[in-house]
């Protein structure tokens, strides 16, 4: 099928409003939250329903054209960079909440619905959707599923895969299938689980049935200020060792604390070395006891100041410092690159030391904010994109940090995914056999590798050094 013909056929499916052709309007789709690499799609299609999605994908299938799915474009690993795929398919017009089953605590939504919208829609029933990435106001459920996203509350409640009962997937040939359903434990292989975290390489998720949780009866949020990161991490270890499972346990280091202080004036002491935010929830009696325990352990570890919140407003205020940390860092330097790695919790002090050393070696400023409870670190490397040398140093330092994570028995990504950013690091974690098996599995869904090609897996036969074919890095 010819390109022009394909375009017209697509137009009849999605209408003019759903088809983006002019170069200027496509240009803005050239990157997501990871801005180091860019590529402009040849065409952007925005279907408004599963039916339209199937029709669109079927047309692309017949024409043999690869495509890349896009949610809200908040991804941090270049997952929706249109590499080797001329057509981008967005879910931004699929934003309906389809069915709320408050009694059984389930909800069916379209993939383009923003994470926070789900919680907003069910608040009146005293329910919420647990996974809460810091980007939750903007990121889509489809994107969360593709990245198996987590958030501060992952520690106690788990990541996306623990909260998706079923999903509707449009396969790369245009057929829609349901994996999982309204109930837990569908017998047979867990294909739903396979698709969650597959970063758009199995097709496009169009609808999902999500599990909702009852809002905890009580909670308490505690913010503790420490003189150093080491003191704060030892508090983390102590809390976990004491058998308390906080709903969230988040750490910010000096640089980040200063950034949020500068942006929002929380009144943190100027010499604060780290801030730890812990939240405990559950039955009121237990919460009280646990909160006291956490406070005591923090003080024992050297905390110089403790604040706690028990009203919704105070809580939001405490969380604001953490949830807006990434953005506040934007004020420190023209650009930043957020890394994402995992280490066993006990290795936190060690990895932090290594990060500091790596940053020094590459002459870079680095800040750390992380989900301390599950050892998910987010070093933030500051740079100026107008300095090509510095950009290169950022890329290299990032790679070294990930290698260090793997060395300490961890992983190269906790929640931001592999995308294009970390393709080269996959062999650090997996043997060639592992990678072959994974790709064979992907072929079950996408035999022609037309859904989000060029992501996650190093090019065939490739190793770390393999040149990346069509990626344009502005250096």
């Amino acid at each position: 099928m010819q390109w022009a013909h394909l375009r017209e056929s697509l137009r009849t499916v999605v209408g003019s409003e759903g088809l983006i052709e002019p170069y200027e309007a496509r240009k803005v789709y050239e990157c997501d939250g990871y801005t180091l690499e860019r590529a402009v799609p040849e065409l952007v299609v925005l279907p408004a329903s599963t039916a339209e999605m199937c029709a669109v994908v079927r047309l692309l299938h017949r024409a043999g054209v690869p495509f890349v799915p896009r949610g809200a474009g908040t991804g941090l690993s270049g997952g929706c960079l249109p590499l080797e795929a001329p057509v981008m398919i967005g879910t931004s017009r699929m934003r309906r909440i389809l069915e709320i089953d408050s009694l059984n605590r389930r909800v069916m939504v379209e993939a383009g619905v923003a994470n926070l919208e789900v919680t907003r829609a069910v608040t009146e029933f005293g329910l919420h959707y647990a996974p809460d990435p810091s980007s939750q106001a903007a990121c889509s459920i489809g994107g969360n599923i593709a990245e198996n996203s987590g958030g501060p509350h992952t520690l106690k409640y788990g990541v996306t895969t623990n909260h998706v009962l079923g999903l509707e997937l449009v396969l790369p040939d245009g057929e829609a299938v349901w994996l999982g359903g309204w109930v837990d434990d569908v017998p047979g292989y867990d294909l739903r689980g396979f698709v969650i975290g597959s970063e758009g390489t199995c097709g496009i998720v169009t609808r999902a049935i999500l599990r909702l949780l009852r809002n905890p009866e009580a909670w308490q949020t505690i913010l503790a200020v420490f003189p150093s990161v080491a003191a704060a991490t030892s508090a983390v270890s102590a809390v976990i060792a004491a058998g308390v499972v906080p709903a969230a346990l988040e750490l910010m280091d000096r640089l980040i604390v200063q950034a949020v202080e500068q942006a929002y004036h929380f009144g943190f002491p100027a010499d604060a070395g780290a801030v730890l935010i812990a939240e405990v929830d559950g039955h009121s009696a237990a919460v009280q006891a646990e909160a006291e325990a956490v406070k005591k352990l923090c003080l024992d570890a050297g905390a110089t100041e403790i604040r706690s919140a028990a009203t919704e407003r105070e809580r939001a205020e405490l969380w604001k410092s953490r949830k807006r940390a990434f953005g506040a860092v934007g004020r420190l330097a023209p650009n930043y690159c957020t890394q994402d790695g995992v280490v066993p919790r006990t290795c936190l002090p060690e990895i932090l030391q290594r990060i500091v050393a790596i940053a020094e070696r590459y002459r870079l400023r680095v800040g750390n904010v992380f989900h301390a409870g599950d050892g998910n670190i987010h070093p933030i490397l500051l740079f100026d994109e107008r300095d090509p040398q510095e950009v290169r140093r950022v890329l290299e330092a990032g790679r070294e940090i990930l290698a260090a994570c793997v060395e300490l028995g961890g992983s190269i990504t906790g929640e931001h995914g592999v995308g294009v950013e970390k393709i080269a690091e996959m062999p650090l974690l997996f043997t060639p056999q592992d990678l072959i098996v994974m790709q064979a599995l992907r072929q079950v869904f996408d035999p022609e590798q037309r859904s989000n090609p060029g992501k996650m897996f190093p090019s065939p036969g490739g190793c770390v050094e393999v040149a990346r074919p069509r990626r344009q890095v502005p250096v």
């Binding site: 200027e24 803005v28 801005t35 953005g327």
Partner: protein, 419 residues
């Protein structure tokens, strides 16, 4: 592919290069943007617009009709600025871009004419009053509801208030506590004189002497929003000439005017006006802001009606005034109901509903549906533009819900108590 464009000097002159870098492309502003919520297109989101403006400024995208279209579709509601964690100064970007667009882009004649009409008619109360004569006549003949079905005319409040000359000075009743000046606004004074009257009554009753300079014209916002810097500065100069008397505050009932008056310093940068402009800006207070600082007594009988409060963008996002109007409504004894998307732009946005009628209509109806769902009997709105837009949208949906300024709501409560 695009032709290669030279870095755009006019745009570069408007927005310093470093501003662009403040946007880290995180997308957290997307859900706050009405045009993105309606259209779902990245180029109609804050992040997309910033991207486009930057590409244009730096010469990677030429200034084409397509670029202009996406910038024109921006409401200037600043929902994005309020949501951005990175402190991006979107307002300076878009206002700068609008000036640069007018300097370098040739609009089609119909569009250019329409834009001319907006800046040539609305900022002049006398011209606007003449323009409204046919509507007045139709209303008199009992055809009010019929003509309100026409585009543009639908925005005119029904019934259309009579023209009233404002007294130049209203003395305080009892001991004088404050002396304040009233900025009347060009559209507000013609279409919503009752808001002004309500404000003056409350002020006088609470020990404020009100000065109302007669010669005042437009604040300049309408011209500025269209990128007509010269004309905006001319308006600013005239305002500075009129408001010279020493007062404790310069009160505004139109959020759009208030927000612009507060940015006078920015607009007169590098001119001889700047010092005076900054001083004037410091005196500006929204009427609700000033009233809630007065510690007013509640009316003897609480209003008791269900009221939804719509956050006008130019109050909430541009001036950060969110709690004060709500406090006035509480003082009035209104029963506040929850309004979904209360701070999402209604689509009025200055002259947007005239220049971009389609999207404005969609946003107006989105707002009206939320209002209907809230169960409110009254919607309180602190900006005349929003009032017109919301009235029209509610009428289109066949709903009979009163749209009042928070100051009017309070005034009604006071008057009902004494009646």
């Amino acid at each position: 592919m695009a032709e290669v464009a030279a870095p755009h000097t006019k745009m570069r002159a408007q927005v310093p290069a470093a501003r662009w870098l403040e946007c880290v492309h995180c997308g957290l502003c997307l859900p706050a943007c009405p045009t993105y919520l309606e259209l779902g297109t990245e180029a109609d989101s804050p992040r997309g617009r910033i991207h486009l403006m930057r590409e244009w400024a730096e010469g990677r995208v030429p200034l084409t009709g397509e670029v202009v279209r996406h910038l024109d579709l921006c409401l200037g509601c600043l929902g994005c600025e309020a949501a951005c964690p990175s402190g991006v100064r979107y307002r300076e970007m878009i206002e700068g871009a609008r000036v640069a667009v007018e300097q370098s882009y040739q609009r089609r004649w119909r569009e250019a004419l329409l834009r001319r009409l907006v800046v040539d008619l609305f900022p002049y109360p006398d011209r606007l009053a003449i323009l409204l004569w046919p509507v007045r006549l139709a209303d008199w003949m009992g055809l009010g509801p019929v003509v309100r079905k026409l585009p543009w005319v639908e925005l005119v409040p029904l019934p259309l208030p009579r023209k009233k000359a404002a007294a130049a000075l209203v003395p305080a009743r009892g001991a004088r506590r404050y002396r304040v000046a009233l900025f009347r606004g060009c559209v507000a004074r013609v279409l919503f004189p009752q808001v002004e009257a309500a404000l003056v009554r409350i002020l006088a009753d609470h020990g404020c002497e009100v000065v109302v300079p007669g010669e005042q014209g437009c604040c300049g916002a309408l011209a500025a929003h269209q990128g007509d810097r010269d004309r905006a500065v001319t308006s600013i100069r005239a305002v500075l000439r009129v408001f010279t008397e020493p007062v404790d505050a310069l009160l505004v009932t139109a959020a759009g005017c208030g927000a612009f008056l507060r940015s006078y310093g920015h607009w007169t940068e590098g001119t001889e006006l700047q010092e005076r402009a900054k001083l004037l800006a410091l005196r500006v207070r929204d009427a609700t802001e000033f009233l809630s600082s007065l510690k007013l007594l509640p009316p003897a009988r609480p209003l008791g009606r269900k009221v939804a409060y719509h956050h006008a963008c130019h109050l909430a996002h541009a001036q950060g005034i969110r709690d004060e109007p709500v406090r006035l409504l509480q003082l009035a004894g209104a029963e506040l109901v929850r309004l979904e998307e209360a701070d999402l732009c209604c689509g009025s946005a200055g002259s947007y509903n005239i220049l971009q009628p389609q999207l404005a209509q969609r946003l107006g109806e989105r707002k009206a549906r939320n209002i209907l769902a809230s169960g409110a009997e009254v919607v309180a709105v602190g900006n005349p533009g929003c009032s017109m837009q919301i009235q029209a949208a509610l009428r289109r949906l066949g709903a009979d819900i009163a749209v009042l300024h928070p100051v009017e709501v309070l005034d009604v409560a006071y008057r009902e108590s004494t009646a």
